[in-house]
């Protein structure tokens, strides 16, 4: 029998949830904090689903360096483009991760970076179009600690 990574994680459930921060246990952000940040970004509008895709691993091999990317469906012309995308994480000490600002010169509304995740949590990406409409995608990323390697 070969267990998949996920099965292995479930099997060892007690061991997997942990913080990647080496010293101390800072207070963590919450879903409410994150919601507040979203509303500040959208100007009070509730984002719709669609148009934006958040690309991230289901399980992060190390929470210190998690690749994360966003792509927004937009023609990126002077008339119709994505102004910005905010990335938030609801289980870090504070929800803010990054804000990507695009222009029609970006050609494509897509960007990739690497982020820190203190524990298993939801990562949220919200896109704001130049006409003021807002779209959202979110993903839960599991953060594990290793054996000796972690």
């Amino acid at each position: 029998m070969t267990l998949t990574r996920r099965q292995a994680l479930v099997a060892g459930a007690g061991a997997v949830v942990a913080t990647a921060l080496p010293f101390g246990m800072p207070a963590f952000a919450s879903e409410e904090d994150t919601q507040k940040h979203i509303m500040e970004f959208t100007g009070g509008k509730t984002p719709e689903a669609g148009k934006i895709t958040l690309d991230a691993p289901e399980i992060a091999e190390n929470g210190n360096t998690v690749p994360i990317g966003v792509t927004v469906d937009s023609p990126m012309t002077a008339d119709s483009y994505v102004e910005s995308v905010i990335l938030l994480a609801d289980g870090n000490p504070s929800p803010g991760v990054a804000t990507f600002n695009f222009t029609p010169m970006s050609g494509t509304a897509a960007a990739t970076t690497r982020m820190r995740l203190a524990k298993t949590q939801n990562v949220v990406a919200v896109a704001k179009m130049n006409d003021g409409s807002v779209f959202m995608d979110q993903k839960q990323i599991k953060v594990t600690i290793g054996g000796c390697g972690g």
Binding site: N64, V97, A98, G107
Partner: protein, 108 residues
């Protein structure tokens, strides 16, 4: 710490209005402000907080970074190239230092 030297990767030439991929990587600890030293004192936050990319003076892409961005920040993004010119990249440190890098591209 000496000024970090950024790495930037983009093509030397492109067709007019081609959308190219740009990758950047820079050495920086991105000290989050959440860690403590051996004596239990908080290590103050010191991160690169802003990254910008311009082409011939026009904004292409920028990013406002929070301490949740990993050490040695990496970005991959796109740019439309309307004409030959110069890409200018800059990274702003919390301490006010600005690191810049320029690279030319030729439209054939």
């Amino acid at each position: 710490m000496s000024t970090p030297k950024p790495r930037v990767k983009l093509p030397k030439s492109a067709a007019k209005d081609e959308i190219i991929t740009i990758k950047t990587l820079i050495s920086h600890d991105m000290e989050s402000g959440q860690r403590k030293d051996k004596d239990g004192n908080a290590i103050p936050r010191k991160i690169l907080n802003t990254f910008t990319c311009e082409f011939n003076g026009q904004a292409v892409f920028s990013c406002n970074m929070e301490p949740a961005i990993s050490a040695n920040p990496y970005f991959e993004f796109n740019a439309r190239v309307p004409e030959s010119g110069t890409f200018k990249f800059s990274w702003v440190d919390d301490d006010g230092t600005v690191i810049t890098h320029e690279q030319d591209i030729e439209v054939k």
